[in-house]
Amino acid sequence: MHNDNTRLTQEIIRASGVNPSKCMKCGKCSATCPAYDEMEYHPHQFVYMVESGDLEPLMNSKSLYKCLSCFACIDRCPRGVEPAKLVEAVRFAVIRQQGADHMTPDDVPAKLNEDIPQQAIVSAFRKYRK
């Protein structure tokens, strides 16, 4: 799990601006995460898995699309690690690959109802599509 992913790991760390080695593994990010129950890998796991270059499970995980971008883990981390920025950088590493959009315009009509605000659609696209 080391060298194969070294470049991608470095790119994810660089694009996120996060220094995972600052983490003291207190778990507060996962404790405060509103998507915790929906996730296979939790925010604190993102931090140590990216740090150790164990990217493949994260890149294949639905957890990438469960983060609500609520900034709770970013605000409440006592070490300023900002785990959600790593979740986002891993998600971008996935959806920036050709054909890897998590949501496409064709998926949208089936997800709509009379009341859903435009804001939901544009936000989902920004998170799920490149």
Partner: protein, 264 residues
Amino acid sequence: MIVSYFPGCTLKTKAQDLDMYARKCAEVLGVTLEEIDNWQCCGGVFTTVNNDAVTKLSSVRALDFARSKTQPLVSVCSACHNVLKQTNHAVQTDKAFADKVNLYMGNESPYDGSTQVYHYLEMLRDLVGFDAIKEKVVNPLKGKKIAAYYGCLLLRPSGVMQMDDPENPQIFEDLIRALGAEPVIYAMRNECCGGYVTMESPEFAAKKSKAITDNAASFGADMIVTACPLCKYNLEKNGNSVPVVYFTELLAEALGVKEDTQNA
């Protein structure tokens, strides 16, 4: 006072009340909201990776427009405000990002992050003043117990947003008091409603939203107020019987311009 105004996509469509009452109330309070020419959608969420400049250009354009008018930039939607403020902060603190967006836009004078960005609530507190609002109240909302719902985007990331204490905010409650009502302080007022994930996991958003409305109700709230169309959607769709109202509508009621607007 004249300010630049960024309404945002949803205020022109599903959240027209949020916009209409914001304009009506601003007029009463002596503020002119000057809508930005040819504004474009903010995108709803700020992407945190530092190599995604293009999705932030619409915000940079809006910020630059306000600078060209030497006006503060005001928005009402929590999401627009969050994206505008975070983008402004990125221009101020990330030189590579600032250089990239300025090269792309080709402005003669590069945008430098100097625009003051206000949420409408901050405009009420910092530019108008809650005391001045109190004096303009003609229909005090006496006896109403109102729960302010901040959600995520008004307060976080707090280092950038700097609206209020992210864990014990009071700006919304101070407004509610100025309007003559009683604010309800409840634990989940700054927790997430489920946001855009409601698109693909409505049941997940339902769990988040229900917990918030139940918590507000358990503290005796008659009403929940919010600034965010997506929060309002999630809370109404999935919550209990407590009504969810835009804060601008509440303000319009207290300032006596709600009926005027309806009869107009």
